[in-house]
């Protein structure tokens, strides 16, 4: 077994993860990136999406919002504004957020509100998708 990668994920309200993992897949602005130990040093923006973590053959998944990924040697850091395990997703809240965002998109307002509603919608949809995917 190759050496492990130390993965740290932090969000505003907690240190989400600070553990050794075998592999992680993080969605960046330019697509999913697989991370393992000795990855080439890289910095990339993290997009709304999923983080997949492989630990001792077990797979864990989390829904993640915007942020940044930084990896160097055996240490990877993901800083994001929101992250939760798929099991933790509050589906009711996500659905409500989706409705709210959709309503706001329908009510034609200025560009700022539209951008914001779109961002909220992306996040809500991401959570719902992941949740439903997990339920199957």
């Amino acid at each position: 077994m190759a050496a492990k990668l130390h993965l740290e994920i932090v969000s505003p309200d907690r240190v989400f993860l600070d553990e050794e993992v075998d592999m992680a897949v993080v969605r960046t602005a330019s697509g999913d990136v697989g991370l393992m130990n000795e990855h080439i040093p890289m910095v990339a923006p993290v997009a709304v999406g999923r983080i997949k973590i492989v630990q001792e053959g077990k797979v864990r998944e989390a829904a993640c919002a915007d942020g940044v990924l930084k990896i160097r040697g055996d240490h990877a850091l993901v800083i994001t504004e929101a992250v939760e395990w798929i099991e933790e997703i509050d589906i009711q809240r996500a659905r409500k957020a989706r409705e709210r965002a959709e309503e706001r998109l329908k009510a034609k307002s200025d560009q700022v509100d539209i951008d914001r509603a779109k961002a909220a919608l992306t996040k809500a949809l991401n959570r719902i998708q992941q949740y439903e995917h997990h339920q199957k």
């Binding site: 910095v43 923006p45 850091l77």
Partner: protein, 306 residues
């Protein structure tokens, strides 16, 4: 107060006692809130710190990259400030210290405008000859990340529209339950030096980072890929970073406010106690004097009857 009669003193004791009760209650409320917000602060610090370290790393590596958020503008026509203060008083010098610090800093700038956060900050700046383009009032006692994003959105727009050419964040840094200092941080354009001195620098974290960097250099890996491109990464990452700094400022300030209130109320309570002691002594003296006088009168009266 020498001329006070017994009844007046009694009344004063009663009034001071009720004041003490209030300050005591407020002290207890403040310490409960302090504990709560402090817990949240401790949880949020790794986030702020991680952003700080990461951005310091970027700035070091991307030296020379031209980006509107990193490269200072040639002429600074107007300076923007975000001043975070509390929404209530009765917390010692907390509010005054932070707004004064901001005010002093502003005197060196040609033209300024202030985005105020918190009632007290607004009260101070709205009375002065300063432009206040927007004020954020009624934020919760435990700040939310969404508040920080809201503030950032507004300020970044102002910057991008060219209405301000630099932005400073003024907040109160919580150092311990008895020590909190107002701080001024240059937010935009990103400034390496300013960043290094703000928030808590974790020495061990810095050293760890340094070691990792050295190891990377040794392995001939010093070249970090910025995906998709340097400018793109900065453009997408900086807003998130600003959120974290503003959020950090809000958190530090919120905890400082509770700590300041607790200390202020604690000293108010002890002052009230001292006062009660003094008044009680006066009251006893007055009572003794009255009794002595009465006895003297009786004795005098009895003498006269003989």
């Amino acid at each position: 107060m020498a001329g006070l009669g017994m009844r007046d003193i009694k009344r004063r004791i009663k009034s001071v006692k009720s004041t003490r009760q209030i300050t005591k209650a407020m002290e207890m409320v403040a310490s409960a809130k302090l504990r709560k917000t402090r817990g949240r602060l401790e949880e949020s610090r790794p986030f702020t710190r991680a952003w700080k370290q990461a951005v310091l790393g970027f700035l070091g590596e991307l030296q020379g990259t031209e980006h509107p958020l990193v490269t200072p503008r040639e002429t600074i026509k107007k300076t923007g400030y975000i001043v975070i203060a509390g929404s209530r008083g009765l917390c010692g010098g907390y509010n005054t210290n932070v707004v004064k610090q901001a005010w002093e800093h502003m005197q060196e700038k040609k033209a300024t405008c202030v985005v105020t956060v918190g009632q007290k900050s607004w009260e101070y700046f709205s009375r002065r000859e300063v432009e206040v383009p927007r004020s954020f009032l009624g934020l919760a006692e435990v700040p939310d990340f969404i508040d920080a994003q809201e503030i950032r959105r507004f300020c970044l727009e102002k910057y991008q529209a060219g209405e301000v050419d630099e932005i400073y964040l003024v907040y109160t840094n919580f150092e311990s339950t008895i020590s909190y200092k107002p701080k001024v941080l240059k937010l935009i354009p990103l400034d390496e030096e300013a960043l290094e001195t703000c928030f808590h620098t974790d020495k061990s974290l810095m050293e760890e980072e340094q070691m990792r960097h050295e190891a990377a250099v040794k392995d001939d890996w010093e070249l970090t890929i910025y995906e998709p491109s340097d400018a793109e990464v900065l453009g997408r990452v900086v807003p998130g970073y600003l959120d974290s700094m503003i959020y950090g400022g809000l958190m530090e300030s919120a905890v400082s406010e509770q700590a300041a209130r607790r200390v202020a109320m604690e000293s108010a309570t002890s002052n009230a106690e001292d006062m009660i002691d003094k008044l009680q002594l006066q009251y006893n003296r007055a009572r003794q004097a009255a009794i002595t006088q009465e006895i003297a009168e009786i004795v005098g009266g009895a003498e006269a009857l003989k």
